[in-house]
């Protein structure tokens, strides 16, 4: 580094590389492009909490139904494996997943093994600059085609938006102990158009419960 600027009282050290390939030697890298039959999504959230606390909440895999949309059940089947079920009405998706990397307080990486969904992902927990919480960065990959669009036809939501919403739910649950929900708001007759628009707003996808009891 040059000596052109020598007064940076609060500047923090930059990591050589950062979570989910956002930063390399101080330079921002765009998220991977969708191609070769793969959909990519990268999203991040600034969450109030330590990397360790947030890692613990994420790593409690069996609690995923509390904050991941339409995940009905996660059964732990081994030290690093689990079976996932998503449900909407009488439609279900099931798949097995395994954890590929597990660095407590820092990072988890996983992939699906077999079943209705082909996906892989990584979540990274890094202290935000200025002691303002933790950056939680999520990078996920879906194999498109018949299997990846299974998610879309089940949820009515592009899997990319589903990942963004799930991270939003995770943040809300971590910060407040609940997930905001207005889907049960009382209302007068919506008529035909009003009912149609609910799906446009994503309000036909049940908000995950977050906390277990009111």
């Amino acid at each position: 580094m040059s000596t052109a600027l020598n007064e940076k009282p609060n500047a923090e050290m930059l990591p050589a590389s950062s979570g989910a390939a956002i930063l390399q030697d101080g330079h921002y890298l765009a998220p991977p492009e969708d191609k070769d039959g793969k959909l990519w999504v990268r999203t991040s959230a600034l969450v109030q909490g330590s990397p360790e606390q947030l890692y613990d909440l994420w790593r409690a895999t069996e609690n995923a139904p509390l904050w991941q949309e339409q995940v009905e059940e996660v059964v732990i089947t081994g030290i690093n494996t689990s079976r996932w079920t998503m449900k909407d009405g009488d439609k279900t998706l099931t798949w097995n997943a395994e954890i590929l990397a597990d660095e407590p307080g820092k990072r988890v990486a996983w992939r699906s093994l077999d079943g209705d969904l082909h996906e892989a992902g990584e979540v990274v927990f890094e202290p935000a600059p200025g002691d303002r919480g933790t950056f939680v960065t999520l990078l996920m990959e879906f194999k498109s085609g018949k299997l990846a669009s299974a998610w879309e036809s089940l949820t009515g939501r592009n899997p990319k938006q589903g990942v963004i919403e799930n991270l939003r739910h995770f943040k809300a649950l971590a910060e407040t102990g609940e997930i905001p929900n207005s889907q049960t708001a009382p209302h007068g007759d919506r008529g035909f158009v009003g009912k149609m628009k609910r799906s446009m707003y994503g309000e036909n996808i049940p908000t995950p419960p977050g906390a277990t009891a009111v």
């Binding site: 600034l46 109030q48 303002r132 919480g133 938006q161 963004i164 919403e165 939003r168 943040k171 809300a172 910060e175 407040t176 102990g177 609940e178 997930i179 905001p180 929900n181 207005s182 889907q183 049960t184 708001a185 009382p186 209302h187 007068g188 007759d189 919506r190 008529g191 158009v193 009003g194 628009k197 609910r198 707003y201 994503g202 309000e203 908000t207 977050g210 906390a211 009891a213 009111v214």
Partner: protein, 392 residues
Amino acid sequence: MKAVCWMGTSKVETLTVPDPELVNPHDAIIKITRTAICGSDLHLFDGFIPTMEAGDIMGHEFMGIVEEVGKEVHNLKRGDRVVVPFTIACGSCLFCKKKIWSACDNTNPNAHLMEAAYGYSGSGLFGYSHMMGGYAGGQAQYARVPFANVGPLKLETDLPDEKVLFLSDIFPTGYMAAENAQIIPGDTVAVWGCGPVGQFAIASAFMLGAARVIAIDRLPERLAMARSIGAITVDYAEDDVKVLTALKDLTGGVGPDSCIDAVGLEGHSSQLQGVYDKLKTAVMLETDRPVVLRQAIQAVRKGGTLSIPGVYGGLLDKVPFGAAFGKGITMKMGQTNMHNYMKPLLERIEKNQIDPSYIISHRITLDKAPEMYKVWRDKKEDVTKIVIDPWQ
């Protein structure tokens, strides 16, 4: 329960709907004892805010008695009397920690809709479209209040509802507008719009040290009310009155130190630009009618401050940004950070520095609300503020 429902542009109905229920652990159910119709409800009524849907319960100014609380609400109990802020805040995210409550990260379940339009989502609001959260509003007999551990102001006083109801929105909104105007003692402040928020901005400007306040409107009852608390009034609709000239005349040619736009996206103008904006919004080439914003940018003195409590929703045309830059003005705006103001303003009411009920002109029932929305929109019957008793 009975509730006032939006049923399409220019159409509201009082309907029987299901009672609200607790959903989350920080919720409370409030039995509403007083609620009101806000100027910003007219933006919904007139169809200016997207993502309102038939059946949505309106209203974001309300107070009442706690009926039931979720298991994580420890500061309130059944029977407590509360005023509810119109913005919902979680109290735990970075923005709440910074006391920018109206930017709360965790209270808008439909944040993705706001993100698409604004880049980021602000907090959820009661009764103000699906984009702003899809929460049922308070022009009803009951409401579910999320994060009741953070928002509602518990009243330990026997002040009547009418004196404290406006702590739910318009008094703090007018006050924050005056605070955002960066008034120092001796300043002259101009306020466009003498509706409820404008009235409280005028009152607050005086409380914060303004030497003179100039109030601009066209409705005689509002101008009279502004004069009654000490403002100079300018009627922009009078023949030969030009607002910019008037403000120069009244400030020795300097211009007001601070300008407050308490009108927002549905501004009226008797001049040519009013017609221009009406046409452009009619054919969807712009969404807002920023006549006041344009005028205020031109009117404020060099280096002055423009504060904007009036709601803008979308795309504005022909905003004189060169004038803003050329004079080096400061602009401050946004939804009210309610939670900062409710307690200190309650203290001002308790000390009798102000009695906010002076703006009330109509007291009605829920059944009468649909017809009063039209009166409110058309500014008939000398209406200045409509308050609803939902149990009458």
